[in-house]
């Protein structure tokens, strides 16, 4: 049984004098009470093992090295072997010159200093969460104070590196947009971390904790903010309730295997290994390995130096990708979409509503026979280097069927679309002429040899959609309220063909939304319509305080006022153009009576 349950419903900061607390001055540091919320505007300390986990690992490693080097001497000390020649080493020197006492004293002093530094750094490292901000103070000689405004939070993740996980500690990373701007609380008791994250996100949503608890006390444990998204079969309330409870009671005392939140999408090991093996990286490495083997067979022994590192890197790549993505889970919670990853070191990321700047559903040609798709997002708070590396936290679905991808996209677009995302995704990605997309004219085949039919855009439901690619099928979904700017280009080649290209700019991330070629007049129309729609979408967007207003109001208003494309300009010649209409998602469904394929169909694709 977890500490949360044992302590009963926690009392928080509306009654600070009632509990065993000290007086609520700003500088008082409140000791940890199991099961009590840390979100009370008071200063708190971190997990006592924090210095050890952050820097002390090095100390332990040094100790290990010393012990390993003295192994011979230790063995000899316990099992004397007279007559053996000893090489002169520092220990002989110390013994022979009678410095033993001094050395022991020095070691003792060193240990005391290290422990004192650790203890002081733990004492001085405090944090607090107020109604406005998360604040961290740290450092002994050089004091640091970092404060992040709650309405600027882009996401909160809980990370448990293997060692920390073993002792039941976890790290909270509050991400804020900007280079290296994250607020890290490392390390906390694992039991506190989930509650702290939930409360931070509740505060960030614009709801006072007291109000939230009133709602909870009124017998409505499910947060009213999010419309049911998690399960399209009507069990949304139940599954979300279970998710919430699991979220509440997840703790290191429980077996982590049992506490896996109720995920919308499951990732099987076979699919994960298969997709990793069928990635472009593995294909390149396999080609190199084959080349190496051919060289070996032909008697060139130096090929070993080529082959061995290649095989090792392949193994390391597959191993790290698979262990990182194992135990994947994704679920809607009251405070946003929660995505969990990791077998040994776990990451659990919560992205609040309106923090997703771009979504990409893509499929390399090598995955096509299996019907696998990947979903990635752009979100703020990622440094440029991380964006360049393609950080794993941006992959929200490493591999899955189109049904899985549709469910993930629904979660990501919570509140923006109604109904299933499967039909529009299916039509946009798996058919040749996507319904509702403005296609590119036939003359653009000189630019996109194979994919000109699949290149197109749509502007609807407060979103800009780009579809493209044959070898690498892609659909970009860009919420207009998050777009930074939009651009159309024309170079000499495109001008000769009466074409233009378009780019939508978002925060840096793995998704780069660029449409390589479209009819020139369509580009002008899209530029006009999209730039006007962006302004409307942004003036009605309130998602930085997502719960402090009526959530139903926002998408409706955006839909009602967003200028949509009317009739496209008549194309010169006979070139076909698909038309865009301001229709809700599900009306594009080729078979609206079948909202979702059965799980059998789903399994068939694996």
């Amino acid at each position: 049984m977890s500490e949360h349950q044992a302590a009963g419903p926690p009392e928080r900061f509306e009654a600070p004098a009632a509990g065993p607390r000290v007086k609520p001055t700003a500088e008082a540091i409140v000791p940890r009470v199991a099961g009590q919320s840390l979100v009370d505007g008071q200063w708190h300390r971190l997990h006592p093992a924090t210095p050890l986990l952050r820097g002390g690992i090095a100390f332990v490693a040094i100790l290990g090295i010393v012990i390993a080097n003295l192994r011979e001497r230790l063995i000899e000390f316990f099992i004397p072997a007279p007559g053996m020649e000893q090489p002169t080493d520092p220990i002989d020197y110390i013994l022979n010159h009678g410095f033993v006492g001094w050395v022991l004293l020095a070691i003792a002093v060193g240990l005391i200093v290290v422990i004192a530094v650790f203890w002081f750094s733990w004492r001085m490292h405090t944090f607090r969460v107020t109604d406005e901000a998360v604040e961290v103070r740290s450092g002994i000689l050089f004091r640091t104070n970092r404060k992040a405004k709650l309405d600027r939070i882009q996401g909160v993740s809980i990370e448990k590196p293997l060692l920390a996980r073993l002792i039941g500690a976890s790290r909270i990373n509050v991400s804020v947009a900007g280079q290296d701007a994250n607020v890290k609380l490392e390390y906390l008791y694992g039991a506190d971390a989930d509650g702290l994250r939930r409360d931070v996100l509740t505060l960030a949503s614009g709801v006072k904790l007291a109000e939230r608890r009133q709602t909870a006390a009124a017998g409505d444990p499910v947060d009213p903010v999010l419309p049911p998204q998690s399960a399209p079969d009507g069990a949304g309330g139940v599954s979300r309730f279970v998710t919430e409870r699991v979220d509440d009671f997840i703790s290191p005392e429980l077996d982590p295997e049992e506490a896996v939140p109720d995920s919308v999408v499951r990732l099987t090991l076979g699919r994960l290994v298969g997709s990793t093996l069928l990635s472009p990286f593995t294909v390149i490495v396999l080609i190199s390995v084959v080349a190496g083997v051919v060289l070996l067979v032909n008697g060139l022994d130096w090929a070993w130096f080529w082959l061995v590192p290649m095989v090792l890197s392949l193994g390391a790549f597959v191993w790290s990708s698979v262990t990182k993505s194992l135990r994947y889970s994704i679920a809607a919670t009251a405070s946003g979409v929660r995505i969990g990853f990791g077998l040994f070191s776990t990451t659990n990321d919560t992205v609040p509503p309106g923090r997703i700047h771009a979504i990409e559903v893509s499929q390399p040609i090598i995955w096509r026979p299996f019907g696998w798709w990947r979903v990635r997002i752009n979100k703020a708070g990622l440094s440029l280097e991380q964006a360049a590396r393609g950080a794993t936290s941006n992959t929200v679905l490493p591999v899955g069927s189109l049904v899985d991808a549709a469910q993930v996209v629904e979660l990501m677009l919570a509140g923006r679309i109604d109904g299933s995302a499967w039909a529009p995704l299916q039509s946009a990605l798996a058919t040749r002429d996507g319904v509702g997309f403005v296609g590119s004219p036939r003359r653009s085949r000189w630019i996109n040899w194979f994919s000109w039919r699949r290149t197109g855009y749509a502007l609807r439901d407060g979103m800009l959609l780009f579809r493209q690619g044959v070898v690498w099928r892609k659909l970009h979904i860009l919420p207009l309220a998050r777009l930074q700017s939009i651009r159309v280009d024309q170079g000499p080649l495109l001008r000769a063909l009466d074409l233009a290209s378009a780019t939508a700019h978002t925060v840096p991330g793995p998704v780069i939304a660029k449409l390589p070629a479209m009819a020139r007049d369509e580009a002008v129309r899209m530029f006009d319509a999209a730039s006007a729609a962006i302004v409307v979408a942004q003036s009605t967007d309130r998602s930085h305080r997502w719960a402090s207003f009526d959530p139903e109001h926002q998408p409706d208003e955006a839909q009602a006022t967003a200028p949509y494309l009317d009739e496209p300009v008549a194309q010169s010649g006979t070139e076909p153009t698909t038309r865009a209409h301001a229709e809700p998602w599900q009306e594009h469904s080729p078979a609206p009576s079948v909202p979702f394929p059965t799980t059998d169909q789903d399994r068939r694709t694996t």
């Binding site: 309106g354 930074q484 700017s485 651009r487 925060v507 002008v524 967007d541």
Partner: protein
Amino acid sequence: MTTPHPGEPRPTPDQPAERPLIETPLEELSSPETVQADPAEQSGKRLELPDAEWRRVSRKLIAVEFISEGAGLVLVTAAVVFVALVWDWTWIWWPFAAFAVISLIAAAFIPRRIRSIGYQLRADDLLFRRGIMWQRFVAVPYGRMQLVDINRGPLSRAFGLADLKFVTASASTGVVINGLPEAEAEGLRDHLVAVAESRRTGL
């Protein structure tokens, strides 16, 4: 699409009237060279926005560009002459000739290139264009502004010009308006900050 007056208040649900007034109307800062798109350019297959009225940058920028282009050419010529005389590398004249021809062609296009730079302050977003061979049109809502930079190089300063850079959370927005008169650049900066403040949303 209509082109409303720049800075015209736009009613929003929660802040109907009390948005800060923009102190300096931009028209008073300089004589705005608002030019309709060149009819010659509009014909054919060129990318053009039909209703845009572009403000052009200062013509002094042409002189600045000529001088910097010429200075580059002079420096390279000096280096080539030096190398040719000292080491007697006669072949170096060939690449130099190619370089000189390309530079002269680029110089010939400078006036057109400068004239192609334009911006327009619409009610809620900034429109920017540049390029003749490689044309580029960007629309940025004012509310997306993270900061505005004004840079002055030594040569631009001598001509009283400044470059204005509009920075958003996206690294690739790339709106840099070169060659604004200093007073206009500063007025534009204050204007952009004011309208961005009144239209601010989340990231």
